[in-house]
Subunit: 164 residues, 2 copies
């Protein structure tokens, strides 16, 4: 097993459905935990999911402004902070961009395959990678708190080799 692929590359799934699912899951999760998924936060989450690509903060801001004229940078950054803190969204460090978290209920670390051609992103949740990294770090006396693993290259559609 290659591990769970929580978000697949473009074309491999029903995108409208995955957005709806993500919102429903977010609603349920926040209800369980007593978190306030306000209209603004919910809408930002929806906008993050609305493209199948990493989205930049100022693109979200532009979208938001179409329907909420008062939106300013802090509006979107604060919503993103909430969503990230509660694992509903991930930040892709190497792109300064954001993607919806594909499995907010799973314990996970944030491993991403990022296609440089079509910008599609797949989120992995591979325990073997996470454990290997953690073991090596521990062996050096380092206490791991957060793993940022971002793999750039070409997705299968854009020139990757066929999967086995």
């Amino acid at each position: 097993m290659a591990g769970d692929v929580l978000s697949t590359f473009r074309g491999v799934h029903d995108h409208g459905r995955c957005t709806d699912d993500a919102l429903a899951t977010a609603e349920a999760l926040c209800a369980e935990k007593g978190l306030r998924l306000t209209a603004l936060r919910r809408r930002v989450l929806e906008l993050v999911w609305s493209r199948h690509q990493p989205v930049r903060a100022y693109d979200l801001l532009e979208d938001l402004r179409a329907e909420r004229r008062r939106a300013a940078p802090p509006t979107v950054y604060r919503a993103l902070d909430f969503l990230i803190a509660n694992r509903l969204v991930h930040r892709i460090e190497s792109l300064n961009a954001y993607v919806g978290c594909a499995g907010p209920r799973n314990p996970h670390v944030g491993q991403f395959l990022i296609c440089r051609k079509c910008s599609a992103v797949a989120e992995l949740n591979d325990g073997e990678i996470a454990r290997t990294v953690a073991r090596k770090a521990r062996g050096l006396g380092f206490t791991v708190e957060r793993q940022t693993i971002e793999i750039a290259g070409l997705c299968p559609q854009c020139g990757g080799t066929r999967a086995a």
Copy 2:
């Protein structure tokens, strides 16, 4: 074996010496490859090494300006571009900062342990991690071009567990 640790945490080595070594290696490498390690580029590389921490571009700029009044943002960014392209410097994506590459002659991928308390960074060159990541990605049909692996936490001095 935990793999090579190419840059150790604060206090574990002779820092003045490692800076000198890095510069000497850079000189030699550029001479071999016909690259122009100009005074500016050499100085920026030296400034990157001069602290044992990730350095931000505008801190480098401030340092540079003390001795070269005409320095502007492109001055430092262009020098960094050259140094990164030739593997003499790494960019830490999660910090928007730069560190000297500890082993520019080794084939390597850029794996970093980053202490959130003292900001020390250790560069790993762990083949097992790199191979595991590459194998998983390949298994999904993805062609890997670049791995960004940044592990945040606490170094041994700041609260990490003792190394075995």
